[in-house]
Amino acid sequence: METTLQEKIKEVMQQPNVSGVVCADMSGLCLGHKGDGSEKLAGPIAAMCEEANKLPTSQELPVIVVEAYGSNTEAKTLLIKQSDKVCTGIIKDV
């Protein structure tokens, strides 16, 4: 029953500049990951979604962007968004 999810993750990985994908539920359980998206990111992205939802924004759930610039690593961007009870994180090369 996870084949559909795995296929979706593979499709996302084929997008340009996408280096990793992580999916988690609101409890921090990793539902799927690929590439640079480690399963250890499941907990933190779920926690960030929970905190971001407390912001007094519009009705739509906010998108969280984490930008990382390191001297030893390339610049990367982590995009996180919650949809219903699933948190999705996409790692892109800047």
Binding site: T4, L5, Q15, V21, C23, S83, I90
Partner: protein, 166 residues
């Protein structure tokens, strides 16, 4: 076949299963002579197993506990420890210096988040998140949410079984 220690002439001074708990006179005796709580009291004509007798036992125990704590308690409110204002300020400065010397170590220094400092315009001039990325993450999150609908518990057999009658 083994031996019975009670028949081996043990020291009668040590308490055993035949030792009377009440003593020969019917009064309660302390099991541990070093126990300060239990104190012997005068012979009481009331029956041993009566409610009044047990209440007197409790009362004597409570009195012993109160006496013990009265001897051990140190009442700091009655202490006469007034200090001058000058001495008080000196102590405040001394303690602050000691605290500062302890917390100035390197392990107490925490990394701070990057701040804009006095130039917030530099932060505001940074390029914002591309709209394409926002659309991408929104669509992907929606598609994955739909893919999660395939996750379900498949029914293999009845969860509630009926026990066969004998």
């Amino acid at each position: 076949m083994g031996c019975c220690e009670s028949c081996m002439g043990k020291n009668d001074d040590e308490p055993n299963e035949r030792t009377s708990l009440l003593g020969p006179s019917g009064n309660a005796i302390p099991v541990n002579s070093a126990d300060p709580i239990s104190t012997p009291y005068d012979y009481d004509p009331t029956p041993v197993g009566s409610i009044a007798h047990s209440k007197l036992d409790e009362q004597s125990m409570f009195n012993g506990i109160i006496t013990q704590y009265n001897n051990e308690i140190i009442d700091i409110t009655s202490m006469d420890t007034k200090i001058d204002a000058v001495e008080y300020m000196n102590r405040v400065q001394l303690y602050n210096r000691k605290v500062a010397s302890l917390t100035s170590g390197s392990r107490y220094k925490q990394k701070h988040l990057h701040s804009s400092g006095n130039n917030p315009t530099n932060v505001l001039k940074c390029p914002s998140v591309p709209v394409d990325d926002l659309i991408l993450i929104t669509e992907v999150a929606d598609e994955i949410r739909k893919a999660m609908n395939d996750f379900k518990v498949e029914k293999q057999q009845e969860l509630v079984l009926s026990l066969a009658r004998r």
